[in-house]
């Protein structure tokens, strides 16, 4: 049977006009096991329908099976690029259930580890985005810096990817005396690297031309689809949970919330909320995170890094919710306790899943090369989508 007949019989009358293309789940730039059913007419897409669920591991169900502290290592697997945030969100929720007050040094260590992790996560996002646009070199540069962060985090908590660092009531380990100078030295180095990053790729003419005015998410649309984090801020809405609903040590720090301002420039067709804004907001957030870590190291308080928490955690029956600003935006945990050793229900709300929803709408009329840029700019991570 000829190919076009096959298409006709399989997908109905009039489908011969479209080429149906399965992009993924094993495709170099779907950022994990995600499938996109691309309806393409030559290079131009009619739409791309994301299919999620290839990486579903029922993590939330596992949360009902294991004890409260026992779930902490599983949260790492919710978002392996920014595991600290998944740790912290869960810890905050259970602390609320228990009514535990976290001592200040632990809060500071949480902020430091999270901000370092945010930089690491953004580096992967920025680097892989550059690679999806075809520039291979920025990716190893980003990975090199991420390795340094991994070294720092390893010195802090002994792990490089799935940290399991935050504990219910504090953090697992305190900060060694010689850790702060190491961290400061790296931060000074990283300032220069960020400048180099801008020279290397952010201000590359081809790169900006590729991304300017591409897949613009107007603010209303972003809110309608429930976008969070840098994706929403790139559309020009200054909403950051660290400022809007401060938690942990964040009220102590001075930092700006970068928002999209059509950084690509009007003469190149840049608009607020375009793909380049989503890229550049992340670069600016890295700078802010550096400043937060510096301030935290300067103001680091003395004291315990772990609150007094009973050995066997059995919160009273009730429910608690926590919201934190993860690298991929708002991450919320909802934990219900029935008074037992195990949670009655654990639910995590993550940014990537909602970001996937907007792709079908945005992909209409884009080119296949642009779809890759769009996916990369939304910074979706497969395990965070499926959990």
């Amino acid at each position: 049977m000829a190919l076009d007949q096959l298409v006709m019989t399989k997908f109905g009358e009039g489908a011969g006009e479209e080429m149906i293309l399965n992009m993924g789940p094993q495709h170099p730039s779907t950022h994990g096991v995600i499938n996109f059913v691309v309806h393409a007419d030559g290079e131009v897409m009619h739409k791309a329908v994301p299919q999620v669920g290839y990486l579903h591991r029922a993590i939330e169900k596992i949360g009902e099976i294991v004890t409260y502290p026992g779930f902490m290592p599983y949260t790492d697997r919710i978002d392996y690029l920014a595991a600290m945030f998944a740790n912290e969100g869960y810890a905050l929720a259970v602390e609320k259930l228990l009514g535990v007050e976290v001592p200040p040094p632990a809060q500071y260590l949480r902020a430091i580890s999270c901000e370092l992790n945010r930089i690491a996560s953004h580096l992967i996002s920025l680097g892989s985005m550059a690679m999806d646009i075809g520039a291979v070199t920025p990716f190893p540069y980003a990975l090199r810096e991420r390795e340094s962060i991994n070294d720092l985090l390893e010195a802090l908590c002994g792990a490089r990817l799935t940290y399991n660092y935050h504990r219910i009531g504090g953090v697992a380990f305190g900060m060694a005396d010689d850790w702060a100078p190491l961290c400061r030295k790296w931060l000074d180095h990283f300032d220069r690297i960020l400048d180099e990053w801008d020279r290397l790729i952010s201000f590359n003419e081809i790169f900006i031309e590729r991304l300017a005015g591409l897949a613009v998410i107007p603010l209303e649309m972003g809110i309608d689809y429930g976008l969070v984090g840098p994706n929403l801020r790139a559309s020009g809405f200054e909403y950051d949970l660290r400022k809007a609903h401060p938690y942990g040590a964040y009220p102590d720090f001075n930092f700006k919330v970068p928002i999209g301002k059509a950084y690509a420039g009007a003469h190149r067709g840049g608009q607020v909320g375009d793909t380049f804004d989503r890229f550049y907001v992340r670069v600016l957030e890295c700078r802010e995170s550096v400043s937060i870590v510096r301030q935290a190291l300067d103001k680091f308080p003395a004291g315990e890094f772990m609150a007094k928490v009973p050995r066997k955690i059995k919160p009273e029956a009730g429910e608690a919710q926590s919201r934190i600003e993860s690298a991929r935006g708002e991450m919320a945990y909802y934990v219900v306790s029935d008074g037992g050793e195990r949670a009655y229900r654990v639910r995590a709300r993550t940014g990537s899943f909602l970001a996937m929803g907007i792709i079908e709408e945005l992909s209409k009329g884009l080119m296949i090369a642009d779809l890759v840029a769009l996916i990369a700019s939304l910074d979706v991570v497969a395990p965070e989508i499926d959990r």
Partner: protein, 423 residues
């Protein structure tokens, strides 16, 4: 080539090539030998280049790169080729078997055949074809046939995308490439590779690139178009890994896959040799003027060192160009299909056309005003040389100095230093 064999027959063997019965046999043997030598050269050079490019890429990306097989990993390409040859030659069941099998050979043939006219040095080329440049342009078109065939025959949608992108790209960019090639042709008045080189000089300001602004612009147009025809970044759309998996060679494995890459790397030599011939003075040796060379030729004795020096200089120019192409590949992002088409049809083609008109008009005017005789006059010549030299300073040295300073600045800004020892 023919003259050389004729001379050998006369001087060494003591026969008259017109009447000696073995002449044709000797011709055939020489053809086979040269063909084998050039194919081997092409393959080995492409292999070495694959190692060299990976080393440069690794250095750019602060990695080490292949350094295990042989000294500094030079023999990596042999290990790779061995692995590719030993791999199963997988042919997808639903593919067009015959076309799938022959597609890599189109690509290889399109690349290898260019060596028939490409010079390697003074008088060092298999043939001295009078339409040499035309031959190169037409024979390289075979490559796109191979790519299109492989894209179609694979019966994979990604391959088809790659093949069609390649066809669109190469066919479009052949037009600005043709326009840019016309400029040195007009300036030299010949399609013969060696005659074009002879019309230039050894010093940089005698090259066609730095003689006139249109020559300068034509160089960059040809360079861009050649990048596009060779599927190199920023025009690597046909094999854009992040978009269409691997493009036209998605379904290939084993040595058939290797052929595509061999041709791609080998084409770097072809591109750079053509650019160097047309714009960078080819094998011209500095401080040896054309007058001296013609005097040697008239006396029937060109010194051996001139042959060697010309070959060394030609290869050096080619290697510099190849390095620049490699740098570009590992620095720039990829452009989009519509941007690629815009660049070609909205910018390169009109500019190229303008350059051709400018070059033709200048040649015509200088011919009308001064005549053929005036070209040799000392006063006209010295004014012209001064202008060329001034243009070289502005268009050649200033950008080069800016490039070096900017690179230095970028290195020092990240707290690094210039260091060439840490290979």
């Amino acid at each position: 080539m023919k003259e050389l064999i004729d001379r050998i027959i006369v001087q060494q063997l003591g026969h008259d090539p017109q009447t000696w019965p073995m002449t044709q046999g000797l011709y055939l043997a020489a053809m086979l030998a040269v063909g084998a030598a050039l194919t081997t050269f092409g393959a080995i050079f492409a292999g070495l280049l694959s190692w060299w490019e990976r080393r440069i890429a690794a250095r750019i990306q602060s990695r080490v790169g292949p350094n295990r097989v042989g000294p500094q990993g030079v023999l990596q390409f042999i290990a790779d080729a061995l692995k590719l040859i030993l791999k199963e030659d997988l042919i997808p069941a639903d593919s067009d078997h015959i076309l799938f099998r022959i597609a890599p050979y189109f690509v290889m043939v399109g690349f290898i055949l260019t060596f028939v006219v490409l010079p390697f040095g003074y008088r060092l080329s298999p043939t001295n074809m009078n339409v040499g440049l035309f031959y190169v342009v037409s024979i390289t078109a075979l490559v796109v046939v191979g790519i299109l065939v492989s894209g179609w025959a694979s019966n994979s949608k990604w391959s088809l995308f790659g093949g069609i992108r390649a066809a669109a790209q190469v066919v479009s960019y052949e037009i600005p490439a043709g326009m840019a090639i016309l400029v040195p042709i007009i300036m030299s008045g010949s399609l013969n590779m060696h005659d074009i080189i002879r019309a230039q000089g050894g010093a940089p300001w005698d090259w066609f690139m730095f003689q006139t602004p249109w020559g300068y612009a034509a160089f960059f147009i040809l360079f861009t178009a050649m990048l596009a025809e060779g599927n190199r970044t920023p025009f690597d759309l046909p094999e854009a890994e992040s978009e269409i998996v691997a493009g036209y060679n998605t379904e290939y494995s084993g040595m058939r896959f290797g052929y595509f890459f061999l041709a791609e790397w080998g084409n770097l030599w072809v591109m750079s040799a053509v650019l160097s011939t047309l714009f960078l003075g080819g094998w011209q040796v500095p401080f040896v003027s054309m007058a001296r060379l013609t005097a040697w030729e008239a006396a029937g004795h060109v010194p051996l060192w001139f042959y060697i020096a010309s070959a060394v200089i030609f290869v050096a120019k080619v290697l510099v160009l190849i390095n620049i192409i490699v740098w570009i590949r590992w620095t720039f992002p990829r452009i989009r299909v519509d941007q690629m088409m815009n660049l070609c049809w909205k910018y390169l083609v009109p500019i190229g056309l303008g350059l051709v008109i400018l070059a033709a008009a200048t040649e015509l005017i200088s011919f009308q005003w001064f005549g053929e005789a005036a070209k040799g006059q000392a006063r006209v010549g010295s004014i012209r040389d001064t202008l060329h030299f001034a243009f070289f300073l502005i268009a050649g040295l200033v950008p080069f100095a800016a490039f070096v300073l900017k690179t230095r600045r970028n290195i020092y800004l990240v707290g690094d230093r210039v260091d060439l020892t840490n290979w």
